[in-house]
Amino acid sequence: MSAHEITPNRSVLLDLKRRIKLTKGGHKILKMKRDGLIIEFFETLEKARQMRAGVSSDYAAAIGKIAIARAVEGDISVKSAAYALQADHQVIVGSKNIMGMKVPKVEATGSMHTDIAHKGYGVISTSAYIEEASVAFEKLLETLIRAAEVETTMKKLLDEIERTKRRVNALEFKIIPDLREAERFVKFSLEEMERENTTRLKHQKKKGEAAE
């Protein structure tokens, strides 16, 4: 809204002053939220960094173990052991609040590890190579579930920081200057009207005196 489009009167001026006060308050709160989110982001970033390192090392270990299991037992045995697996792992996806922002909370319903006696394949004939590979992948799955929460939180925090930054900038560089400009315009217009009024009154007074 251009400053020149508004009607310059006292009630508008009062409204503008109220809006400027409110906007400044909002701007301050949003700046605090942005700073808070940035602090939270850096904490999450550190966690994510550790998680990524954990995922990388667990993935490398699991791949190494399955490569050895496939080499020793053959691909057919490893594949068939995988077909026999009965473990049904589930995760609960909830949410938690960080500064008014909802982030996911991913939790496994139980341990991802199923002991060899309950995996679904025979205990006697399943080799330790296959079992070790299976345990390594269970560990990777656990790390991935924890990493999923941290990574999603981090991405959501980044989006929220970006959004808050845009709002702060919009308030700081557009809305507040526009409102101030409008306030200046209304004030100037009211002063101008005041001066015009005084001049008109003086003219009328002069005319009245001349007529007498």
């Binding site: 190494g64 490569a67 050895i68 496939r70 080499a71 020793v72 053959g74 691909d75 057919i76 594949k79 068939s80 052991a81 077909y83 026999a84 009965q86 049904d88 002991d115 060899i116 006696a117 309950h118 995996k119 679904g120 394949y121 025979g122 205990v123 006697i124 004939s125 399943t126 080799s127 330790a128 190579y129 079992e131 070790e132």
Partner: protein
């Protein structure tokens, strides 16, 4: 199919055939050469060293590592079938009982594939018809759709008495095949022991060899369970195969009651295989797969000694079959290891030579 024949076996003929085949097995220095090859070079090498027929047969629909793996298994199943066909009398009974493990392997593959929802074609590719069950019989099992039907048909084909409560138990649970698989593994050894009539020194020694093998399997099972924190008679004894030489029920229970993996060492100090696993059990962190590998090496050594001591008996036949299975394991270890980019030293450690 399993049958007990009272006639003596044709040992001289079968052993001569087997010895000729054994001379064609890949030697240690050839494994060292293979370790330096790429996967296509290994395929070519195999094509020139006894696996040519199978490689050419499968080359049209497979390539790379799959070609090597499936051709190896196909070759092994043909070799074993030819030995089974060549043997007669009690030798046939013993060889057939030894090859029962491949029947069980195939039944397990079918059960696992079916319970996972794979189609017949996919399951059939993974079968190794090296046992007494013919391809037509395996096709019949493949054509059945439920675990119950497959087990009923298999028990009829191979004269296996699968307890009905085992099948009923499977139907009532979430569908884990472990109880059935463990039953089949125990049955494999029960049949093998039943097939050996210990009326001569070689058969007595063969029985001894199998009972020692049962000890190794039982020890390995106890160690695997212990590594998972499962101990105590109540939890472990159901997985113990009866008929062990040194690990009888009482010893197995004693071993089962030990809580930690490292505590086992003193309990097995009197056993034959102790020296083979001692350094591994005394290590700060006990690797179960290293123990398993050491037991496999120890078993191979025993088979070799056993065959040298009884040249005209079932021993050389068993020794060859064990070495043939090991050759397949070694070829796959090298080929898969190279394909996965494993270090040469790591692959070397996986080989049992």
């Amino acid at each position: 199919m399993f049958r007990r024949n009272t006639r003596r076996g044709n040992y001289a003929y079968t052993v001569t055939r087997v010895k000729a085949k054994k001379s064609q097995l890949i030697k240690e220095e050839e494994y060292n050469k293979m370790l330096l090859m790429s996967l296509p070079e290994i395929s070519r090498y195999m094509s020139e060293s006894g696996y040519q027929k199978e490689m050419s047969e499968l080359a049209g629909r497979m390539s790379g590592i799959d070609l090597v793996e499936y051709a190896s298994y196909l070759n092994m199943s043909r070799v074993f079938t030819s030995i089974l066909k060549a043997s007669e009398g009690e030798l046939y009974t013993m060889v057939s009982a030894y090859l029962e493990k491949w029947n069980i392997w195939n039944v397990k593959m079918i059960l696992r594939g079916k319970s996972f929802g794979l189609d017949e074609k996919n399951i059939k590719e993974d079968l190794v018809p090296a046992g007494s069950l013919k391809e037509a019989q395996l096709d019949k099992l493949l054509s059945l759709s439920t675990v119950e039907e497959i087990l009923t048909e298999y028990s009829r084909m191979d004269s296996v008495n699968i307890p009905s409560d085992l099948i009923a138990g499977y139907m009532g649970t979430s569908g884990g095949l472990s109880v059935i698989e463990d039953f089949l593994d125990k049955f494999k050894y029960a049949r093998l022991l039943q097939a050996i009539v210990p009326d001569s020194r070689p058969t007595l020694m063969f029985q001894d060899y199998i009972r020692h093998e049962i000890d190794l399997v039982n020890f390995s099972t106890i160690m695997k369970l212990k590594a998972e924190g499962i101990h105590g008679e109540a939890n472990v004894m159901e997985y113990i195969i009866p008929g062990g030489k040194q690990i009888d029920r009482r010893t197995a229970a004693q071993l089962a009651n030990i809580e930690s993996v490292s505590g086992v060492s003193s309990e097995i100090s009197q056993m034959d295989f102790y020296e083979a696993v001692k350094p591994l059990l005394d290590a700060p962190v006990v690797s179960i797969r290293a123990v398993e590998s050491a037991l496999k090496r120890y078993d191979m050594e025993r088979a070799k000694k056993f065959s040298h001591m009884n040249p005209l008996s079932v021993a050389p036949v068993m020794d060859f079959m064990i070495h043939k299975e090991n050759e397949i394991s070694n070829i796959l270890a090298i080929a898969r290891g190279i394909q996965s980019g494993l270090d040469t030293e790591v692959i070397k450690g996986l080989l049992v030579i």
